[in-house]
């Protein structure tokens, strides 16, 4: 059930919003970190494609190690503190299981999220990661709950 309005975010986007709005996205090997501050009723979500920015090109938030700190910074700017923030992480599926996922993009994306959140001392209170299915998620900011549905392979040919 979609209540209020939902903002759909694409790869490389970061969105912060407040209750009763919602943020949604669709993930394959990409990962989305959802941060929620229950005392303020604000939450933010990112959606990144690759784990590391490698020094080439712009530091865009399509890289985990750029996107996650930016998401945290933006939440802190709105008054959240690392003590009140809670995280939920989704995605990181291995989408090329047939060919043998030698790059392990999904796994690396998950690892980056866990490492960076650990560093900022933000607890991960829920996760649904890995596997071979894509996910569609909707982060409802009234209670900070995430609704998730698995997707079929065909849906994800164009998704991160």
């Amino acid at each position: 059930m979609i209540q209020g309005s939902s903002t759909f975010i694409h790869v490389g986007q970061i969105h912060i919003d407040h209750a009763p709005r919602a943020i949604s996205t669709v993930l394959g090997s990409c990962v989305a970190v959802c941060l929620y501050d229950c005392s303020l009723g604000i939450g933010g979500m990112n959606h990144y494609l690759l784990p590391f920015w490698n020094g080439n090109g712009l530091q865009t938030p399509k890289f985990g190690n750029i996107s996650i700190p930016k998401l945290i910074e933006q939440m802190i700017l709105r008054g959240a503190t690392s003590k009140t923030l809670e995280a939920k992480i989704f995605g990181g599926a291995s989408m090329n299981s047939m060919a043998g996922d030698s790059m392990m993009i999904g796994e690396k994306n998950i690892l980056v999220a866990k490492e960076i959140l650990k560093e900022y001392k933000i607890p991960i209170i829920a996760e649904d990661i890995g596997g071979q299915n894509g996910r569609k998620i909707q982060f409802n900011l009234d209670r900070g709950k995430v609704l998730m549905k698995y997707t079929t392979r065909i849906d994800l040919t164009q998704r991160g």
């Binding site: 059930m1 979609i2 759909f8 490389g12 986007q13 970061i14 669709v26 990112n46 784990p51 590391f52 920015w53 490698n54 020094g55 080439n56 090109g57 712009l58 530091q59 865009t60 938030p61 399509k62 190690n65 750029i66 996107s67 700190p69 930016k70 939920k88 989704f90 392990m104 796994e107 690396k108 690892l111 980056v112 490492e115 960076i116 829920a126 996760e127 649904d128 569609k136 909707q138 709950k145 995430v146 609704l147 998730m148 549905k149 997707t151 849906d155």
Partner: protein, 268 residues
């Protein structure tokens, strides 16, 4: 065996994360500066460009000075737009806003903004456009792509030559081709050409910001950019998704997958 590989990947990934952190720190000062400069410069510049045309004199002598001022202001505006775009892309606040766009109008605006350079370098521009319908795209970003490509062609191409601009529908994608005469960037250094602030091998090609911005916009719009250099011609080609009907009809439920309900969803 698989477990061993897994552990190794995990170990190496942690290592990369650490190294990248140092890299990011060294870059962050530059990013902050970029963002600050961009915002501080943008507003007065916009006002200035709005006011300058009101000062157009009747007197021929004064008109020369007026033209020089206008040219420099347009150039400054263009550079600020690139800086603003680069800063926004880095901060993740570069959102797309789609609208119905007439590509000919956008192209003419880009040519108008570059009229002094084109005139001074005695460059003639030939345009072929086979896109007759209005398309759906982000006008501001499409404009910045065209502005950068044509600006590069007119600044770095040979003087007294012709620039050819082709807008076409190629396999249902919008293709923007800008061809100029002259020696282009070295094809062997392609990745660097699209990397900001990387000094070109010849050292002649500006800040190196424009093309990195164009590449990022292309990525954002799900398109791409490439260039070839042959027989003393440089051709830059941008391809973007071509949508001719309004997107809001799509958003009203024709895409079941994205817009269906979350009934029966797992709550976490």
């Amino acid at each position: 065996m698989q477990n061993k590989t897994h552990n190794e990947v995990e170990f190496l990934s942690r290592k990369i994360l650490d190294l990248n952190k140092q890299l990011i720190e060294s870059q962050s000062a530059k990013s902050r500066f970029l963002s600050l400069v961009a915002n501080e410069l943008n507003n007065p510049m916009t006002a200035l460009l709005g006011l300058i045309p009101h000062l157009k004199p009747q007197d021929m002598e004064k008109e020369k000075v007026y033209n020089l001022v206008h040219e420099e202001a347009l150039m400054l505006e263009f550079r600020i737009q690139n800086l603003v775009a680069a800063a926004q892309i880095e901060s993740g606040e570069y959102d797309l806003s789609f609208a119905t766009v007439n590509v000919t109008t956008l192209l003419n605006e880009a040519l108008e903004a570059l009229k002094y350079i084109i005139l001074n370098r005695n460059i003639s521009v030939s345009v072929t456009n086979t896109i007759n319908d209005n398309i759906v795209s982000d006008p501001q970003k499409l404009f910045l792509i065209m502005h950068n490509l044509i600006s590069n062609a007119s600044l770095f191409g040979d003087a007294n030559t012709q620039i050819e601009i082709h807008l076409s529908d190629k396999n249902n994608r919008l293709q923007i081709e800008v061809k100029n005469q002259g020696s282009g960037p070295n094809v062997a250094f392609k990745p660097q050409v699209f990397t900001r602030f990387s000094s070109d091998t010849s050292g002649l090609h500006g800040l190196g910001l424009g093309l990195s911005v164009v590449r990022s916009i292309c990525e954002l719009l799900e398109g791409d950019i490439d260039f070839i250099c042959q027989d003393n011609f440089v051709i830059f080609t941008v391809t973007l998704p071509l949508e001719t009907n309004a997107t809001d009809t799509m958003a009203c439920g024709s895409n079941e997958f994205l817009f269906d309900s979350f009934e029966d969803a797992i709550e976490l």
